[in-house]
Amino acid sequence: MGVIELDRLEVRLGGRTVLNGLTGELRGHAIGLLGPNGAGKSTLINTLLGFHEPSGGVAKVLGLDARVDRMRIRQSVGYMPENDSFIGNMNGVRFVRYMAELAGLPPAEALERAHEALFYVGLGEVRYRKISTYSLGMKQLIKLAQGLAHGPKLLILDEPTNGLDPTARQRMIQLIKDIRKQGGTHLLISSHLLRDIDETCDEVLILNKGRIAAISNIEEERRSHRHFIEMEMTGSTDGFVQKMQSQGCECASFAGGRVKLVMPDALSAKDLYVTAAEFGVQIRRIQQRRDSLEDIFLRAMEYEGGRVDHVGV
């Protein structure tokens, strides 16, 4: 069973189609939801939570239909909204306890979990302060605490690092990594910051203009041994390039002796030096890098067909 299953999901809001025929299955432990502003990330989250009714197709969360099993989905999900969303005149512990009770915890357990959740996210010392007096970072953290308090199976984080300074951002990322590491909770993280997704997620769903531009398993990409290499060489590179291509490399040469190539698993960097020596060219600079999430994202954004694609390197 996938964490999120979409089958020709269509959502129309205010007379226009915001999500258009999304189909795909996400099974990752931490799923990133990427896309430019207006791509439909928040609409997808709202649809999964049952805030928006799908106008067509099916969306399932943890095997439950978002159209008919809203309450059961919400029971299993913790949600941290993008914008400020709290009750300002409540103190931290009372707010988190309130949310935990709404999620079904009995009052005593809810109080205990509220304290624990606040300590866990680092708000233990300010838990009796009114939320309206919290800083922006603290407000982000208390939204995370209320999402965690009832022990959800899926935690949905909508732009969790929005407006945070570098220290607070790092703290938030560390918390997300920690939750992921514990293993009991799936994560769906919506962000337009590639770095956040890159650091925390193992699978990514990229949306563009209401369509799925790509679904990619970052973890698999990371495990991939297909290396991208950029080199600067002196001398004629034609022979070198032809030899490398004959050995299974994808090569492209540019002016100034620059060569870019993708190496198959069977070859290593040593083979480059051997071949270069064979053709009498010098390698002046060599940079080895793996395909980044940024590459996946940019390629997905260029993709115009609207077809679901598992983007690989």
Binding site: L13, G14, G15, N46, L49, F51, H52, R70, M71, R72, R74, Q75, V77, Y79, P81, N83, D84, S85, F86, I87, G88, N89, Y98, M99, E101, L102, A103, G104, L105, P106, E109, R113, H115, E116, A117, F119, Y120, G124, S132, K143, Q146, L148, A149, H150, G151, K153, D178, I179, Q182, G184, T185
Partner: protein, 290 residues
């Protein structure tokens, strides 16, 4: 998640039934409403007339006290008219209390944009409103039918004649009359608070919703020389309904008396308007059209 280790652990304990979640909202809403000293002050103020009425009943039913206090003056009649007066007084205090409490229940949630986070939990929009509605109804009950029925019970106990059996329908009338008003006030209070968002303005708007149409209705009645303008006058409509529910003699000139059915229709329309407003405003996400 232990406090010592600061580790995350999932919750594996028991869960409360889904149907009881609106009660959680009601409990927190009641707490919010009654945490204000002004609410307590208004509540105490609303009970002062009841104390006076209690003394009146005591004097009316106690010949010795009557002789001492009234010194041979006319005795009070504890009848339908007396309880109509009691009910009217309490119900207008309920309006003041509703105008104070209702915005506290909804405006904070809307002002702080708490609805997305509240409704992301296993509670529907209906459940959310039901919780707030229960809290408001309970708060208003404290100053309307509960003290009125306590006075009724005291009169049953204190009356030297067999009064209770002959006036059982009065108790029913008190409860039903107060219930209609409390439900209407709760709906108007929640709808206006959801519409306006700002607490202080919402308080004023609740009074405006009750009294501005009354003024408009009065003007319409005067210009068009018709009694139907009074249908917009909620105080008049409710007074007439209470009078009929309690079986008290008519106070108003028969020329201005309104039939019961149109009055009920007006109340139903008012409630439907409130439902429409609540349906439009109580949403986790607003959809911008166009």
């Amino acid at each position: 998640m232990s406090v010592f280790n600061h580790d995350y652990r999932p919750y594996e304990g028991r869960l409360t039934p889904l149907g009881s979640r609106p009660l959680v909202l009601a409990r927190y809403a009641l707490n919010e409403a009654w945490s204000s000293k002004i609410t307590i002050g208004l509540f105490v103020l609303a009970l002062l007339p009841c104390l006076v009425d209690l003394v009146i009943i005591y004097v009316a039913d106690n010949p010795m006290a009557r002789a001492l206090i009234m010194r041979g003056g006319p005795a009070f009649d504890i009848d339908q008219s007396f309880f109509l007066h009691v009910l009217e007084t309490q119900c207008w205090f309920a309006l003041v209390l509703a105008a104070w409490i209702a915005p506290r229940l909804v405006s904070f949630d809307l002002g702080d944009n708490a609805l997305p986070i509240l409704l992301s939990h296993p509670i529907s929009r209906f459940g959310y409103l039901l919780g707030k509605f229960l809290a408001l109804i309970l708060s208003l009950s404290y100053v309307t039918w509960i003290p009125c029925l306590i006075l009724f019970v005291y009169q049953c106990y204190a009356s030297p004649q067999p009064w209770a059996m002959a006036h059982l329908s009065l108790a029913l009338g008190i409860f039903a009359g107060a219930a209609v008003w409390v439900v209407l006030l709760s709906m108007v209070g929640l709808a206006v608070s959801a519409w306006v968002k700002w607490r202080v303005i919402a308080t004023g708007a609740i009074f405006a919703v009750v009294f501005v149409p009354a003024g408009v209705g009065g003007i319409a009645s005067a210009i068009l020389r018709t009694r139907w303008g009074l249908l917009l006058n909620l105080p008049v409509v409710m007074s007439e309904l209470w009078q009929r529910m309690l079986g008290a003699p008519a106070v108003m000139n028969s020329r201005f008396e309104l039939p019961t059915f149109p009055m009920v229709v007006v109340l139903v329309i008012a409630c439907l308007l409130c439902v429409a407003v609540l349906n439009a405003r109580i949403r986790a996400r607003e959809v911008v059209r166009g």
